[in-house]
């Protein structure tokens, strides 16, 4: 199964270390291969190092693609995390 969706990062700091760590933690709960795209750059959502290479700041558009048996659930979970601005205070 394949699911994908675009999002605009609205949290103040963008995909900084803490946000990336949260994303990795969430992504690791799923077996799907999850990839984050920013323009022509891509990163494995299960690696903080990889995610940080995107330098995705606030208001960046990213595309999330999920490939695997739990693709739909993983995309929903990630959508929630992004919409909740990575639980930033």
């Amino acid at each position: 199964m394949h699911s994908e969706k675009e999002f605009i990062l609205k949290n103040k700091l963008g995909l900084h270390v803490r946000a990336a760590a949260q994303l990795v933690k969430l992504a690791n709960r799923f077996s799907s291969q999850i990839t984050i795209y920013k323009g022509n750059l891509k990163a494995d959502a299960k690696s903080i190092l990889d995610l940080l290479t995107l330098a995705a700041a606030k208001n960046t558009t990213i595309k999330v693609t999920c490939q695997g048996s739990d693709a739909k659930d993983s995309l929903n979970a990630i959508e929630n995390l992004i919409k909740n601005e990575f639980h930033e205070v």
Binding site: K12, L13, G14, L15, H16, V17, R18, A20, A21, V24, K25, S47, I48, L49, D50, L52, T53, L54, A55, A56, A57, K58
Partner: protein, 153 residues
Amino acid sequence: MKMNDILKPEAVIFELKAQDKISVIQELSEALHKINHQVRKEDISETLNKREELGSTGIGSGVAIPHGKLNKIETITAAFGRSSEGIDFDAQDGELSHLFFALIAPENSAGQHLKALAKLSRLLKSLAFREALLNAKSEEQLYEMIIKEDNSY
């Protein structure tokens, strides 16, 4: 932004003496203080420690990137330290951390900060480069390797 703009040879520690999280932050703060005399090293370590309280910057693969913002800093500055034995830094993957890149940035520099982190991550993503850093023979060699690898991008 190039690595030689943010990392100076004086801020490279060939072998960290620290064996735990608190002392490695102190050692890196001392290195950062060397190139930022205007900031007390206690203020640097306090900033880095506060950030760690929000969650470890031990991001896995033996890499840790303690960082923070300080209003007395003019430009982003990095320090690098290496621990052959490894230090328990509460890393996200539960492994010991060996390569420490500390970053301090001015307030309101979120964009620059992200770019510096991206640059570091691009270098450190390579397993071969991480191993090469661990096998370096001197401070000078470490510094050269980092600058050279950065210039190859």
